[in-house]
C-alpha cells in the first residue's frame, strides 16, 4: 500500500532540543503556563481522564442491560449511572474535546500567531474546567445525581433527593470554561492573523472552530441562567418553573435546549474541521468547494439557534410551533450534507492513502451520515412521536457524537500527534485500532436503532425479554469498542518514548503548523510568517521543497 509518510533518517534525526515541552521545567511551569500548547496538553490529559470515567459508566450500563431484569444494580443506581455517564461525557468530554485540545494547540499556529489573544484567560478556562470536573466527581462519590443530564424540572427541583445542586454548580462552572475558550478563539481568529492571512486562506479547521465558538459564547450563558433558576428553586423555592405556583416547567426546557441543541454543534463542528484537514492531506487535493464548506460551518451555527424545540415535540408545546421548528430542523441537514458531499468530491480522483487518521475520517463520514439522516427522522414531527425517548434516539445521538465526534477526535489526535510530541505513533497497530473501533461501534449502536423502532424506551434498567437478543449484541459490541479505545491510550503513551522521530512535516501537509519544527517552539514561529499561498495548496508545497533543495545544494 502506498504511503505519503516521509520521515527523516532515523539514525541521525533528533527531537529539536529547544521546544515548548523543554522550554521550562518543573510542575509549576506547567500549572502557571500561558502557552496555548501546554494548556492544550493539560486539557488533553484531563479530558482523557474524564473520558475513561464516562466510559467505565457506559460499560456498567451495557452490563446491566445484558439481562432483561435489573440484577447488576438497583434501578435507582442505574438512573445515577446513566445520568453521570451523560453529564461527564457531554460537559467534560465532548464539549471541550477537540476545541480545548487540538483547537488550543493549533488555532494560533494556523493563523500565524504566537499565542491566543488572552493566555491567562485560557489558563483560567482550564482551571474552571478542573473545578467543574472535581465538583462532578464529588457529586458522584457523594451519592450521584439521577435526573439524567437534562435536569428536567420539576423532577430536578422537587422530586429527587440527589446531588442536583452540586452537579448544577459543576456544569455552571464548566460552562464558563467553555465560554472563555470560545471567546479566546473568536478574538484570536479576528485579530491575530499573520500578514496576508485573509479569511479565505484560513484552514477549514479554523472556520469550523470559529462557528463553534460563536455558539459557545452565545449559547452557554442561557444554560447558566436556566441552571441558576433551577438551583434557586431547589434551595429557596422561588417559583419560576414550579407549576404549583403558576410556573411553566416547559420554559426550563426551552432555556435548556436553547443551549443544549447548539451544544450538539459545539461538539460536532470542531470535529468537522479535523475531517476537512485529514481528507485533504490524505487525498493530496484542495478541499472541494472550500468556501461552501467554510460557509456551511457558519450556516450550521446560525441555524443551530432556531431548531431547539425538536427536543420537546412530545412535551406539550404548541402544534403550530412544532410545525415551524420541524421545518427549520430539516434546514440544518442542508449545510451538514454540503460538507459530506464536498468531502466525497475531494476524494474523487485524489491520490488517496490509508493512514490511520484517514481511516478514522472514513469512519466519521459513514457514521455521521447515518447519524445525521436518522436525525431527519426525529426532526419530522410525526415520526418523532413514535421514536423519541426510545433507543432509536440513543442510537442516533451516539452515531453523531461517538461515531462522528469521537472518530474525528481520534483522527485529529493521530494526525497531529507527531506535531504535538515530535514522535510518530505506531502505524500498523493504530490502523487495527481504527478498524476495531469502527466494528465495535456498529455492533454496539446499530442494534439500538432496531430496539428503538421496536419500542424499547430509554433510561430503564429492565426491559421485556423479547429485546434481549439485540441488547446482548449491543453489549458484546461495547466490549469490542472498549478495546478499540484502550489500544490508542496504550500505544500513544508508548510512542512518547519509543515512537519514530517524526520531523517537521511527516504527512507532506500544507498547513502553517507543518512548516515549523515538531514539537514547536514556545513562540511557535521564529519569524511571523507572511502568507501568500491558499490553504491546501500542494503545488506551493512542492515549490517550497524544490526551493529548499536548490538552496542547500
Amino acid at each position: 500500500m502506498s504511503s505519503i509518510v516521509s520521515l527523516p533518517d532515523q539514525t541521525t534525526a533528533r527531537i529539536p532540543k529547544r521546544n515548548y515541552l523543554t522550554n521550562e521545567n518543573g510542575i509549576l511551569s506547567w500549572l502557571l503556563t500561558g502557552d496555548h500548547k501546554r494548556i492544550a496538553m493539560l486539557y488533553l490529559i484531563s479530558i482523557t481522564f474524564f473520558f475513561f470515567i464516562g466510559g467505565a459508566l457506559a460499560g456498567l450500563i451495557r452490563l446491566e442491560l445484558l439481562t432483561p431484569q435489573s440484577d447488576l444494580m438497583a434501578t435507582d443506581t442505574y438512573n445515577k449511572v446513566f445520568s453521570m455517564h451523560g453529564i461527564i461525557m457531554i460537559f467534560l468530554f465532548l464539549v471541550p474535546s477537540v476545541p480545548a485540545t487540538l483547537g488550543n494547540f493549533l488555532i494560533p499556529i494556523m493563523v500565524g500567531a504566537k499565542d491566543l489573544a488572552f493566555p491567562k484567560i485560557n489558563l483560567l478556562s482550564w482551571y474552571l474546567y478542573l473545578a467543574g470536573g472535581s465538583l462532578t466527581l464529588w457529586a458522584m462519590i457523594n451519592g450521584g445525581v439521577d435526573t439524567g443530564w437534562t435536569f428536567t424540572t420539576p423532577l430536578s427541583t422537587h422530586y429527587v433527593n440527589t446531588n442536583v445542586v452540586t452537579t448544577g454548580l459543576a456544569i455552571f462552572v464548566a460552562g464558563f470554561s467553555s465560554i472563555f475558550t470560545g471567546l479566546n478563539f473568536i478574538v484570536t481568529i479576528h485579530r491575530m492573523r499573520a500578514p496576508g492571512m485573509t479569511w479565505f486562506k484560513l484552514p477549514l479547521f479554523v472556520w469550523s472552530h470559529y462557528a463553534a465558538s460563536i455558539l459557545m459564547v452565545l449559547g452557554t450563558p442561557v444554560l447558566a441562567i436556566a441552571i441558576v433558576l433551577v438551583l434557586l428553586e431547589r434551595t429557596i423555592g422561588i417559583g419560576v418553573f414550579d407549576p404549583t405556583k403558576g410556573g411553566d416547567p416547559i420554559l426550563f426546557q426551552h432555556l435548556f435546549w436553547f443551549y443544549s441543541h447548539p451544544a450538539v454543534y459545539i461538539m460536532i463542528l470542531p470535529g468537522m474541521g479535523v475531517i476537512s484537514e485529514v481528507i485533504s492531506t490524505f487525498s493530496r487535493k484542495r478541499v472541494f468547494g472550500y468556501s461552501a464548506v467554510a460557509f456551511s460551518s457558519v450556516a450550521i451555527a446560525v441555524f443551530g439557534f432556531f431548531v431547539w424545540e425538536h427536543h420537546m415535540f412530545i412535551m406539550g408545546v404548541s402544534n403550530y410551533s412544532t410545525l415551524v421548528f420541524s421545518l427549520l430542523t430539516m434546514l440544518v441537514a442542508v449545510p451538514s450534507s454540503i460538507k459530506i458531499f464536498n468531502w466525497a468530491f475531494t476524494l474523487y480522483k485524489g491520490s488517496i492513502t490509508f493512514e490511520t487518521p484517514m481511516l478514522y475520517a472514513f469512519g466519521f463520514m459513514g457514521l455521521f451520515t447515518i447519524g445525521g439522516l436518522t436525525g431527519v427522522f426525529l426532526g419530522a414531527s410525526g415520526t418523532d412521536i413514535h421514536l423519541t425517548e426510545t433507543y432509536f434516539i440513543v442510537a442516533h445521538f451516539h452515531f453523531v457524537m461517538v461515531g462522528g465526534m469521537l472518530m474525528a477526535f481520534l483522527a485529529g489526535i493521530h494526525f497531529w500527534w507527531p506535531k504535538m510530541t515530535g514522535r510518530m505513533y505506531p502505524e500498523k497497530i493504530s490502523q487495527l485500532a481504527a478498524v476495531v473501533t469502527f466494528i465495535g461501534f456498529n455492533f454496539t449502536f446499530f442494534p439500538q436503532f432496531l430496539l428503538g423502532m421496536l419500542g424499547m424506551p430509554r433510561r430503564y434498567a429492565a426491559y421485556p425479554p423479547e429485546f434481549q437478543v439485540l441488547n446482548v449484541f449491543s453489549t458484546a459490541g461495547a466490549t469490542i469498542l472498549g478495546v478499540g479505545y484502550l489500544l490508542p491510550m496504550i500505544y500513544l503513551v508508548w510512542s512518547l518514548k519509543y515512537g519514530k522521530i517524526a520531523g517537521a512535516n511527516p504527512w507532506q501537509a500544507t498547513g502553517l503548523e507543518w512548516q515549523i519544527q515538531s514539537p514547536p517552539l514556545t513562540e511557535n514561529f521564529v519569524e511571523i510568517p507572511v502568507v501568500t499561498q491558499d490553504a491546501y495548496d500542494y503545488e506551493w508545497l512542492e515549490r517550497q521543497k524544490e526551493h529548499e533543495v536548490t538552496q542547500v545544494g
Binding site: 479576528h190 485579530r191 492573523r193 499573520a194 500578514p195 496576508g196 492571512m197 485573509t198 460563536i214 452565545l218 442561557v222 416547559i250 420554559l251 426551552h254 436553547f258 439557534f305 432556531f306 431547539w308 424545540e309 408545546v317 404548541s318 402544534n319 403550530y320 410551533s321 415551524v324 421548528f325
Partner: protein, 105 residues
C-alpha cells in the same frame, strides 16, 4: 492584519466630556418622562412607550458611553449579533407560547 493596517497610526477617538454631560442629561430626562408616562392611561401603549424609552436610553448608552458610534464595523456587528440572538431566544420561545391556545389541527 489588513483591517489593522487601516487604523495604523490613528489616535483612538476620545469622546469629549461635553457629549457625556449631554447624554447623561438626556438619560435623566428620559427617566422622568418614562415615570410620568406610566401614570397616563394608554392601554396597551403603556408598555410600548416604556419599552420604547428604555430602548432609546440603552441605545444612547451603547453608542456614546460605550463608544460604539466611534468603533469599527466589527464592534457594531458584535452588538448586533448579541441583539439578534436575544431576539431569537425570545421570538422562537414565544412562537410556542402564543399558539398553545390555538387548539390542535
Amino acid at each position: 492584519m489588513s483591517e489593522l493596517e487601516t487604523h495604523h497610526g490613528e489616535e483612538p477617538h476620545i469622546v469629549s466630556p461635553k457629549i457625556y454631560v449631554l447624554i447623561a442629561a438626556t438619560l435623566l430626562i428620559c427617566t422622568a418622562l418614562t415615570v410620568a408616562a406610566s401614570y397616563l392611561e394608554l392601554g396597551p401603549w403603556n408598555a410600548v412607550v416604556a419599552l420604547g424609552i428604555a430602548v432609546f436610553k440603552a441605545t444612547l448608552v451603547v453608542l456614546f458611553f460605550m463608544h460604539i458610534k466611534y468603533s469599527s464595523k466589527l464592534m457594531k456587528l458584535t452588538v448586533f449579533a448579541g441583539l439578534f440572538t436575544f431576539l431569537a431566544l425570545v421570538g422562537m420561545s414565544m412562537s410556542d407560547y402564543i399558539s398553545r391556545a390555538w387548539g390542535s389541527f
